[in-house]
């Protein structure tokens, strides 16, 4: 039996579709398990959020209440981190939050694939966020956006501080993407390793009843992973809000 914990992260074409769907510049595009999960995540979340508020009652139903609470949660987050004029970025941040949250949660289902455990996906999201921050900054402040890298300090410290500020800005997409990727990767690898322990103990004959111990540990780690899934989605969204706040209001403190 193959107990390799890293095998769960393999992206492979599914449903026996060995033929690529189409080709872009010589690279064949397959319909992979990752693509299937992303389609499922987008379909389920958008269907739920649009259909649950259909009844539109003053005293909400359960589904309507869930959709409205998630809306309010993200709206409060944007308002506290970015201020009043950050609310025009609500669709962007809400989509990001719901996508990352649902990808993380759908990956917890045993046997499914975690889309956000691929650095390609998380780096695409983080690059999109930083690109949005840069574009918004230049559109709002013009070339004055570069004042973001000039903190309030005497001139002899600025020579040291400006390169540090620039470098710390440029590492933001990397840290944003690697944080989400590594959290998901580490969680699922831990679950797979302990699953291997259960199998190994269970097939050891005399020691088979001891296999309950790693199983209980897996249950505890699943609870932790559910918390981490929500927390990482929340941190991704709130860091997006904080970076947008820096682009919109350069160094003003309100």
């Amino acid at each position: 039996m193959n107990l390799n914990p890293m095998e769960q992260f393999a992206v492979k074409p599914i449903l026996g579709l060995d033929k690529p769907l189409f080709e872009i510049a010589g690279h064949p595009i397959y319909f992979t398990n990752q693509a299937l999960l992303m389609v499922i995540v987008v379909a389920v979340s958008s269907l739920f959020l649009s259909l649950a508020v259909k009844p539109n009652r003053l005293v909400p139903t359960r589904g309507q209440s869930m959709a409205e609470m998630s809306y309010e949660f993200v709206s409060n987050m944007i308002h506290s981190a970015t201020g009043e004029d950050g609310l025009k970025f609500f669709p962007f941040v809400f989509t990001l939050f719901i996508f990352v949250l649902c990808c993380n949660f759908f990956g917890m289902v045993p046997g499914s694939f975690t889309v956000t455990s691929q650095i390609a996906v998380t780096f695409a999201l983080a690059a999109l966020v930083i690109l949005m921050v840069i574009v918004v900054g230049f559109m709002k402040h013009g070339i004055g956006f570069l004042k973001l890298f000039v903190p309030h300090a005497p001139w002899y410290l600025l020579i040291l501080l400006i390169p540090i500020e620039v470098i710390s800005f440029l590492t933001r997409p990397i840290s944003l993407s690697v944080r989400l990727f590594a959290n998901m990767l580490a969680g699922h690898t831990m679950l797979a390793v302990f699953g291997g322990f259960v199998v190994a103990l269970g097939s050891a004959g005399v020691w088979a009843p001891l296999a309950i111990a790693p199983m209980l540990l897996i249950v505890a780690i699943m609870l932790l992973e559910l918390l981490v899934a929500f927390l990482q989605a929340y941190v991704f969204a709130i860091l997006t809000c904080i970076y947008l706040n820096e682009a919109l209001h350069l160094h003003d403190h309100h």
Binding site: M77, S80, S175, V178, R179, F181, A182, N183, L185, A186, L231, Q232, Y234, V235, I238, L239
Partner: protein, 75 residues
């Protein structure tokens, strides 16, 4: 020394990053607790910063994991 053995040693050494992560996370939650026990009314306003600080500390520990994986599988 052969390459695979050196890779294993390198990956093991990269786990020293977890020391910093552990100290940092303990620091974050400890400061929050001592502040919350002095001023319980203001504790709820800082939960956002608490979770943010925790995630940022955790991230540095996980950068060590990424270096370990890079050493093991990419070089």
């Amino acid at each position: 020394m052969e390459v695979m053995a050196a890779k294993m040693i390198g990956a093991g050494l990269a786990c020293i990053a977890l020391v910093g992560a552990g100290i940092g996370i303990g620091n974050v939650f400890g400061s929050y607790l001592s502040g919350a026990l002095r001023n319980p009314g203001a504790a709820a306003t800082q939960t956002t910063n608490l979770l943010l600080g925790f995630a940022l500390c955790e991230a540095t520990g996980l950068f060590g994991l990424v270096i370990a994986l890079l050493i093991l599988f990419a070089f």
